[in-house]
């Protein structure tokens, strides 16, 4: 049995699966249910400053896009930070941490951008004996209009400043939660590091309108005929989150900085991918909000089974193993030549590979062989693009097979070269480096 125990900034949890700061972590009753179900930790729903709590809309807060059979693929919300009194939240955090001392209890915070506000909230939160704080510099909706959330996260100087205040005013580990609503994620991550933050977590939600109600001619969710952009999350955002995670993990300035991965984690496999890119924990929200807390059983068992199969005893055994394999396009090996191969035994003859290639790509898949419906790759046309693999409804029916060095690519008529050669030295590159290098 693989050991899933996690130590992130000294915060220990029995597994790397934390519930992200969101509706599932807003109240004692929910978090208690989560811990009983087996979740390793939570980031309590974002607290604001002392005073009258924020108010939420009383109409719909969520929107979604669905795939086949209404499988939820993308999720959007316009809910704000906790709308319950600060003291109630603090009491509940303290009670839950006491009842579940082995679980990670991190508290998310969002207060106005002045030192006194941060100092005050940090002092109040420390009293709960929680394990750490996460600075919510991410929410793109509502609070950002008041100069908080992503309004801070989009300005690296603010991130650095607030992170520094927090490190000054608390002994607790400080995690900075980043917004993806920015051009280059490395800048806010570097700012967090410069400010002394112990870790970053990402991604927060992406500004989004999930759909337009064509009867009301208004974005959804619609509040009395109007809508406002929300924050997008769920399986659809995972690719964006993985890329941003990798960018931070391989940036020389932030390399090695602990990362809590967030964004569409739905299964054990998603979690393993984030960890392979260097994450210490993962945070989950949409999957729990879609299926309930029981999914933790699939996640822990799946991760453990896979680690056993691969011979990884602990999470550290594979953490970050994929990071060195993320590179710039210019360093990809141009000598590597692949051709699509269709397994005729698995092929169900739907023809989607053919029409996709024929209409939109390279006319490299025949649809007829000796007058019979049959789909076969024309190696002399195939550029190895992988489109057919992705549109094929049968997994592993079409695979990309590398050509052996020394063989002739029938498309180019050139001999496949051994070894490695990339764009930086390619003769077509006007800025190619001199071969002598």
């Amino acid at each position: 049995m693989a050991d899933l125990r996690t130590n992130f900034l000294g915060i220990r949890s029995p597994n790397p699966f934390w519930l992200a700061s969101a509706p599932p972590t807003d109240r004692e009753v929910n978090v208690t249910r989560a811990f009983k179900a087996g979740w390793g930790g939570v980031v309590w729903k974002t607290l604001g400053s002392e005073g009258p709590p924020v108010v939420n809309v009383n109409g719909p807060r969520y929107g979604a896009i669905h795939g086949a059979d209404r499988r939820l693929l993308g999720f959007n919300n316009i809910e704000l930070i906790t709308d319950r009194p600060l003291q109630v939240n603090l009491q509940e955090i303290k009670a839950v941490k006491k009842a579940f001392p082995d679980r990670a209890m991190v508290v998310s915070l969002m207060v106005p951008c002045d030192e006194e506000s941060w100092k005050a909230i940090l002092a109040a939160v420390e009293e709960t004996e929680c394990d750490g704080v996460e600075l919510n510099f991410g929410c793109p909706h509502g609070m950002s209009e008041r100069g908080m959330g992503s309004a801070v996260g989009q300005v690296p100087e603010y991130i650095e400043m607030v992170a520094r205040w927090c490190k000054q005013h608390t002994r607790m580990p400080v995690i900075v939660k980043l917004t993806p609503n920015i051009t280059d994620i490395r800048h806010p991550a570097r700012a967090a590091k410069r400010g002394g933050a112990d870790a970053v977590s990402l991604i927060n939600t992406i500004s989004s309108i999930v759909s337009v109600d064509l009867d009301r001619m208004a974005p959804t969710p619609t509040i009395d005929g109007k809508g406002s952009h929300g924050g997008y999350c769920g399986p659809a955002v995972k690719p964006i989150a993985l890329n941003m995670t990798a960018e931070i993990a391989r940036d020389p300035e932030t390399h090695g900085m602990p990362i809590s991965g967030i964004g569409g984690v739905t299964t054990w496999r998603d979690a393993a991918e984030f960890i392979a890119l260097g994450c210490g924990t993962v945070q989950v929200c949409t999957a729990a909000m879609t299926y309930g807390f029981k999914i933790i059983d699939e996640m822990t068992a799946g991760l453990s089974n896979w680690m056993d199969e691969k011979g990884y005893a602990t999470l550290d055994d594979f953490r970050g193993l994929a990071t060195p394999n993320v590179t710039d396009w210019q360093y990809l090996n141009l000598n590597y030549v692949t051709k699509a191969v269709i397994d005729q035994d698995l092929c169900i003859k739907c023809g989607r590979c053919h029409i996709a290639c024929e209409d939109t790509s390279h006319q490299a898949i025949a649809n007829m062989v000796d007058g019979r419906r049959m789909f076969v790759v024309k190696d002399e046309e195939c550029v190895g693009c992988n489109l057919c693999v992705e549109v094929c409804p049968v997994q592993n029916c079409i695979t990309m097979q590398p050509m052996a060095a020394g063989s002739v690519d029938p498309r180019t008529g050139r001999v496949v070269q051994p070894g490695y050669s990339n764009w930086t030295t390619h003769p077509n590159n006007p800025m190619a480096q001199v071969a002598a290098e």
Binding site: A68, I348, K349, C350, R352, H354, I355, R373, P393
Partner: protein
């Protein structure tokens, strides 16, 4: 109401009202919106889709299913009806298991095709329920066409011609329109008077005049039609039936032609009034045999046996239909041919069969016999074109007793087209008849309007 399943002889009212209602209601419940969307999501939108190729009317199945997915049932129905104006009935009666659904690539993937028939019904029902008219007639051409027979072939042809702006007169021998849709197929496949609702929709396009109770050769003849109209389409079906050729046939009570028996059943709203035998023997192996046997069972017959002279794989009824019969409690016996009818006091009491075998590729009796007791014998051994159907028009070339047509459904006589069950080389399916009518309509239009005009009209109609 003293009769029950075991009441001897032929009796009506063997079942309770509730049983009759259940037995003659919808064989398959229609899909509701949620079910339709779940099922539509399974379609892969194949390239050059095998289901479409398998459809005799070439309905663009991937497109109409995608239109269901995108919540556009009216557009979906239009896609269907453009190719097959009887899309609603075909959704109910097509042997999809040997056509579109057999070709579905999901069979290869997981052995379960997309339920194309039920999806087609979902869309076409939605359109009929809404009363939406997706077609518009092209400007009037002044051409007049006579269509003989208001079955699927005739009405399909009439609709296509009306769409192109022609004036059509349909002559029908029976009081109601629809042909076998109204008089032939099993009740539970098209309950709630669906055949008439569909005919009303088809006629609602306009340009089609109907004359019922008009018999070719009696009330009018081919010569007069050719003189009075610019073109003639024959969709007269097969009004004659093959005989068993046994002593007592036509004399003994209880020996009935299955086609007539089903027609009576279809035209009797109160099924409890329909007499049925306690022991029923159905002779034949086609759809009519299955329809007759299953309906006999559902009317309360205690024992129903289908006897077919060859093996089950040679039966014209699809495997699905055979299994439908079997799950309804019908026993299918094969490799036996009727040899003798036995009777008592003018009523049939049994059928003696001779076992058969294939010897050197030919069917032959083995000499071994067995007798099945029966108080009702339904003969479903095939229908045929009788000379009366054509009003004695022996000028039409026939093959195997049916009218010879070319690819465009032109007969050997200029100006006369034909389609449906009455033509040679067909599949004897509703959907094939619809295709015949459609192709004949297009051909007539081309012939009357000339190639150039046709291109424009077809464009306008689409």
């Amino acid at each position: 109401m003293s009769a029950n399943r075991s009441t001897a002889g032929i009796a009506s009212g063997r079942l309770s009202t509730a049983e009759y209602t259940a037995n003659f209601g919808d064989l398959h419940a229609p899909l509701d919106r949620h079910e339709a969307h779940v099922e539509a999501d399974r379609c892969y939108f194949c390239f050059d889709a095998p289901c479409q190729t398998a459809c005799p009317t070439s309905i663009d199945i991937p497109l109409f299913i995608r239109q269901i997915q995108t919540d556009n049932p009216m557009g979906s129905a239009e896609t269907i009806l453009k190719a097959n104006i009887f899309g609603g009935m075909c959704a109910r009666v097509c042997p999809t298991e040997t056509l579109c659904e057999e070709a579905c690539v999901r069979n290869e993937a997981e052995g379960k095709p997309v339920k194309i028939g039920l999806l087609q019904r979902y869309s076409t029902d939605a359109l009929l329920d809404r009363g939406h008219q997706p077609f518009r007639r092209a400007p009037a051409t002044g051409k007049r066409i006579a269509v003989v027979g208001a079955g699927p072939a005739g009405l399909s042809c009439a609709h296509k011609l009306a769409e192109h702006g022609h004036e059509v007169t349909v002559f029908e021998i029976r009081p109601r329109l629809g042909g076998l849709n109204e008089y032939g197929i099993a009740s539970y496949k098209a309950p709630d008077d669906f055949a008439q609702r569909e005919v009303a929709f088809i006629l609602s396009l306009g340009g089609i005049t109907v004359e019922t109770n008009k018999r070719l050769g009696q009330d009018f003849d081919l010569a007069s039609l050719r003189a009075d109209f610019d073109a003639v389409f024959l969709g007269v079906g097969l009004s004659g039936v093959n005989q068993l050729g046994l002593v007592g046939e036509g004399e003994l009570g209880g020996v009935l032609d299955a086609v007539d028996w089903i027609a009576t059943l279809r035209q009797t709203p109160d099924k409890s009034k329909l007499p049925v035998g306690r022991r029923v023997v159905v002779i034949g192996g086609g759809m009519t045999a299955v329809d007759a046997a299953v309906q006999a069972k559902r009317l309360g017959a205690e024992e129903v046996t289908i006897v077919y002279r060859r093996g089950q794989d040679a039966m014209k009824a699809s495997l699905y239909e055979q299994q439908l019969a079997q799950t309804n409690g019908v026993l299918i016996r094969t490799w036996a041919t009727p040899a003798e009818l036995t009777g008592d006091a003018g009523q049939v009491t049994g059928v003696t069969f001779e076992r058969t075998a294939e010897v050197a590729g030919k069917l032959a009796g083995t000499g071994e016999r067995f007798t099945l007791p029966a108080d009702m014998v339904l003969c479903a051994v095939g229908q045929l074109l009788t000379p009366g159907d054509l009003g004695g028009a022996d000028a039409l070339a026939l093959s195997g007793g049916r009218i010879v047509v070319d690819d465009e459904r032109r007969t050997s006589v200029p100006g006369i087209w034909a389609g449906g069950d009455c033509v040679a080389g067909g599949q004897d399916l509703t959907v094939s008849a619809v295709e015949d009518g459609k192709q004949a309509g297009l051909s007539i239009n081309r012939a009357l309007m000339g190639a150039v005009a046709t291109a424009g009209a077809a464009h306008a109609a689409e």
